[in-house]
Symmetry: C2
Subunit: 142 residues, 2 copies
DNA sequence: TATTGTTATACTCTATAACTATA
DNA sequence: TATAGTTATAGAGTATAACAATA
């Protein structure tokens, strides 16, 4: 596929870069409100859905498994997460949120409302159009 | 403004999160191809436009000025950047790309073509629509 | 043998606070 | 006194390599 380099395309790329930058700033800020780093917030949100083996967390975060040890250590020392043995495979440790961790994850999700707010200025039809365009954009490379 | 929570809005938010994740992965990968970290690549791209005082770089990266010292140190030790005194204010040091740094910055920009490629599947009219929607989205909060 | 999680190590980025040299 | 850049320090994330327990 030919890569386009016209003014319109570059403008859209710049807008996407702005979206990315703003999303990150606000994500870090929301995490910080709960004294979490970005990585810790990601892991906590992940585990709030379902307990996961350490290895799987690393795959989701696209980092080395050795890094997960420290992140879970820090979440565990704050009582937000626990390690449980996997009855089916004694090599595996399942990380799971505690009740307190679940509450924190829910609050974090609330703080992330910022992500929905900018969309409030678009009509339902426009949001549908945006969804379709983003889907096609992402579908091409993924 | 009321924050929307319907299925369509959540879907768009998820798509944006996917865009953000993919953008970051590919940015880091492109930087890595040139043995640069993400932060180093950002600074190099910034300085390729114009020389900047250390303080200004920190403002652009939204981090503390003390961090810039190390980042510029590492770029300078690789011959990609140089520090020049500001003739107007002897407290200020201007960081500027070397000729080699300019070449690396240009190659980096080429590697970032990935960002344009997904847009190739959209027509000019669709890219225009996407631009307008993103503009309005960003305009609301910024 | 292969896999899971951990440890040890080194590097980078980050914030904070104290320092220096200029202004 | 205020500002620009640096240094020192500490914490967190990252990759790599080596290790113990288990499969």
């Amino acid at each position: 596929m030919a890569t386009r380099n016209d003014a319109l395309t570059c403008e859209v790329v710049d807008l996407i870069a702005t979206v990315v930058a703003r999303y990150h700033e606000e994500y870090e800020e929301a995490a910080g409100k709960h004294s979490l780093t970005g990585a810790q917030a990601k892991v906590l949100a992940l585990l709030a859905r379902e307990p996961l083996p350490m290895r799987r967390i690393a795959q989701q975060l696209k980092c080395e498994p050795s890094n997960i040890t420290g992140i879970i250590d820090r979440l565990e020392s704050r009582g937000l997460v626990e390690r449980h043995p996997d009855p089916d495979d004694r090599r595996v440790k399942l990380a799971a949120v505690t009740p307190e961790g679940r509450v924190t994850a829910a609050r974090l999700r609330q703080s992330l409302d910022f992500a929905r707010e900018p969309l409030g200025s678009l009509s339902a039809e426009e949001r549908g159009t945006l969804r379709d365009l983003l889907r096609r954009m992402l579908g091409e490379t993924g």
